[in-house]
Assembly symmetry: C2
Homo-oligomer: 193 residues x 2
DNA sequence: ATATATTTGGAACGTTCATTTCAAATAAAT
DNA sequence: ATTTATTTGAAATGAACGTTCCAAATATAT
């Protein structure tokens, strides 16, 4: 029957994601993607549809990777507050190891495209929902354990933390000083204690 | 002597800024700018140099406008903490009146271009310095007045507030619910009290 | 070995990109 | 009224854009 796809889709998505992450969606050209993936133009269009479709797949694979990393990170936590601390510590390390100041692909995407493409808006909404649920559950757990105060509801603290993460990821593009970043994290989390 | 520039530079910059704000730098074409400003291509190049130069002028005029608005807003404050509350209230109103979910031109610019153009990096650095100094002075004043606690130094709180503002502006693209936004602001500020 | 469905390479599609060019129009200074 | 420096309009620049096309190559199933 047919000739089967020969390239490693995971690897190709990784390469494409790197380009989008470095340059942003609009500044990335199809030629950039051809060069980065070492795939032929037709193969890209055959396998992914369009530039926007490919970008959406990149966003999803980026998200999947992060959800795994975040889960692994938080599995090490002794309690809910500790899990939140580890989450921010994880982001801190992401910022410190991001030597090209690329920031977060998804946060950057909010800035660049949230008011333009509906497919992107849908992705960002589901991403937001995922994180809001994760954070709310964590806060709820922390409040049950009494490691997190009850000055606000778990939903309210989840909103605060979601916003804080966006800010941290954006600020991390400008600030690379570890002490400064640690200060920001400590101050964000202090509110919960 | 020469024929003098006939167009209203302030108005032209405002029109150009609107386009950049709505679409972002890379998605904005020179044709978009010609259409929006009703200026001829040559006039734009004659008066502003290049697309990037024009964008930088837009960033600066946007910044100038905001600094004025923010000053006026905070002049109404009774004390330093109140000034910070008014600052966030100002941003909240900006978000609520931003029906196209454009976000903040400068915050968006961090995401889109901070790792690309050195002229942009310089602008963003000076913008950051300005806000950091403003916030640090406010916190210092608040701590002297005892409306802000001394759990952290003014510099540390300034970093926290700077990051919080970035987060609030980005989250405001996704969230338009007034109550949710108010919750975020209250929680951010609670830390200082 | 042959048939078949798919991938691949490479050129080509028409459009749009940022920028330049240059003659014509213009308004101040003489 | 003439000179002069500048702005303006409109077309043209070549390069790059995302996408399409199609013949050739290829790997599976028969």
């Amino acid at each position: 029957m047919p000739k089967v796809e020969t390239f490693d889709k995971v690897l190709v998505l990784k390469k494409a994601t790197d380009v989008f992450h470095e340059k942003g969606y609009n500044a990335t050209s199809m030629q950039d993607l051809v060069d980065a993936t070492a795939l032929n133009r037709s193969s890209i269009y055959n396998s992914f549809g369009s530039k926007l479709d490919l970008f959406l797949e990149c966003l999803k694979s980026y998200q999947d990777l992060y959800i795994i990393k975040i889960s692994e990170t938080m599995d090490k936590a002794d309690h809910a507050l500790h899990a939140i601390e580890l989450l921010f510590e994880f982001y801190l390390n992401e910022i410190l190891s991001d030597n090209e100041d690329k920031g977060c692909l998804i946060t950057n995407c909010i800035s660049e495209m949230a008011n333009q493409e509906t497919s992107i808006i849908n992705f960002l909404s589901s991403n937001q929902r995922f994180f809001m649920e994760l954070l709310e559950e964590l806060v709820k757990k922390g409040q049950k354990e009494s490691t997190i105060n009850r000055h606000r509801t778990s939903k309210e603290y989840a909103l605060y933390l979601f916003s804080s993460i966006q800010g941290f990821r954006t600020t991390g593009i400008l600030i690379s000083n570890k002490k400064d970043l640690q200060t920001i994290v400590k101050t964000i989390i202090q509110t919960l204690i």
